[in-house]
Amino acid sequence: MTAATVGRDTRRPGFRHEVRLYAGDAEFVGATLDFVRDGVRAGEPVLVAVGAAKIERLRSVLGAEAAGVQFVDMAQMGRNPNTIIPVWRDFVDTYGSGGQAVRGLGEPVWSQLSPPALAEFQHHEALLNLAFGDNPDFFLLCPYDTLALPPAVIDQALSRHPFVDGRPDRIGAQYALEGCLNAAFTEALPLAPRQGPRSLAFTLRDLQAVRAFVRDEAEALGLPPNRTDDLVLAVDEAAANSIRHARGEGTLRVWAEDGHVVCEVADDGRIRDPLVGRRRPEPAPATSRGIWLINHLCDLVQLRSTGSGTVLRLHVALPGPD
């Protein structure tokens, strides 16, 4: 029996966020199959969110047992890392009620992640520990490919997962949640290009001008109309947040970067809830939904908030060079 086999017998009920290291694509199925199959055989609901090719490989080796597994293409679900937590939450709330143990296997499509997206994915990994602080009986396994990923990323993963490689109930030596949560809100963003960004200062009366500005800039940069609509709404929500939660004003900057239109909204307010925008909003009309909407409208969202202000950087992908 390998370290990869951690059945229900050997772990306490509760949230278990574990990293599993594997060396190269060929090892993926070997590193994850037992985890999935043990869940199925124990009658646990299992959700596998990985890339499409890996889904097919797992399906074929699981055979008939694949019927007991839900598969989701992580290329869609994890396109914006800020939208992953609510998918797991929905899964846990739907299938894990009444103390039912549930399992998840989650791995982004590494080749899809740009450097800023990878950074946001690591913040997401830290925030997962907070998001399931209510300790549902949820075993979430995160495979990391040590051949595909640089050592720094592996180190980051080890510091963000309390459990490592199937060691039953010992917190990993590198686990450092507090620092990682802090980094999620305070880690410096890459510098905006010195040349190019166009900016607009705004207050409540300027929201129409903010939308017109984003629309003009996005169209000039070649963003298609439907994605321009998404970005216009997202920036409007970000600006409205600045007006509502900061001193009633903010600054918008727009530029193009690595095949994306980037809009940055900065203000002097401070957001203190690290999970802001990562919980499905309550149905009551008056609930705040701004950052939730922004996360679902954009391809990548970088939020940083410190004593000196809040920055929201919104990325929407430009069409590829077809």
């Binding site: 409540l204 009366r205 929201l207 939308r211 439907n226 609509d229 709404l233 909407l293």
Partner: protein, 282 residues
């Protein structure tokens, strides 16, 4: 035209039009009211002109109207004290307006036209209450042989209150650009037009709160809406909740694909008492 569009002139108003006319000084209002009244007279409509203040001053507002005194003598034009009307209850006011329309139609007129300077008539200076009245009168304009021009002096009332009352008219004209959206009556319900964002979220919430929900099906037509944010959608969801509580159904029509998307992202798609029709917007 009941479209929520901006109006360049107080002329060219047809039956069912209901226009908020914003002005900065009284001369602007007198000119607009004179144009509006003269057009009604030319069309054979019975015309009522109302303002607050002394009767002589109210008559003087229409000093430039040709044959003013003869029109007054023949009852084609009636001048009234808007302050007195404003102190009447809503049902009393509606009864007065309905009987004026019935009489005009019985006399062979095509309809009734009201021009009112409402600058000083908001009860207790509360423009939210005044907007509630305007929502009711808009329903009358939409369903009866009625045309109305509602003057409001921006230098007296201020931009915020002008926006609060202008947004419940299907058309706005005159000085400045009050608000960015309109909520107005259409067959079977209400329509929204323009742009709804954080700057007008409060005005929308109050405007939607004025109508008592009824147990039947009522329409909210979004086909003229150019932009709406999450808070605007939340106001619509709150309206749907009130309609549902009254045993009714809110049928949202004309939603753009983007409006659909926001509604779903906000988590409103499975709400009781509301149905968003699949977009047929072209």
């Amino acid at each position: 035209m009941r479209t929520g569009a901006r109006r360049e002139s107080p002329g060219g108003c047809d039956l069912h039009d209901h226009v908020a006319w914003v002005f900065d000084d009284d001369a602007e209002w007198r000119a607009a009211a004179t144009t509006f009244v003269a057009e009604g007279i030319a069309r054979g409509e019975r015309v009522y002109y109302g303002a607050s203040g002394a009767v002589a001053a109210r008559r003087d507002d229409l000093a430039e109207l040709p044959d003013r005194d003869a029109l007054i003598a023949s009852n084609a034009l009636q001048i009234f004290d808007a302050g007195v009307i404003a102190r009447a209850s809503y049902p009393q006011r509606e009864t007065l307006i309905r009987s004026a329309i019935d009489q005009a139609l019985a006399d062979g007129c095509p309809g009734v036209r009201f021009a009112v300077d409402s600058t000083n008539v908001a009860p207790g200076g509360n423009w939210d209450v005044q907007a509630g009245w305007e929502r009711r009168s808009d329903r009358m304009c939409q369903s009866l042989a009625l045309t109305a021009l509602c003057g409001v002096n921006r230098s007296v009332v201020g931009d915020d209150d002008v926006a609060r009352v202008a947004c419940v008219h299907p058309a706005t004209g005159g000085s400045g650009e009050p608000g960015t959206f309109s909520l107005f009556a259409v067959d079977g319900g209400l329509a929204l037009s323009g742009e709804i964002d954080a700057a007008v979220a409060g005005d929308l919430a109050s405007a939607l709160a004025h109508d008592e929900p009824s147990p039947g099906e009522s329409v909210l037509d979004l086909s003229r809406l150019d932009f709406i944010d999450g808070r605007g959608m939340a106001s619509i969801a709150a309206r749907a909740d009130r309609v549902a509580a009254a045993g009714g159904l809110l049928l949202i029509t004309g939603a753009s694909p983007m409006a659909h998307r926001i509604w779903e992202l906000c988590g409103f798609e499975h709400r009781q008492g509301v149905h968003m029709a699949e977009g047929l917007r072209t």
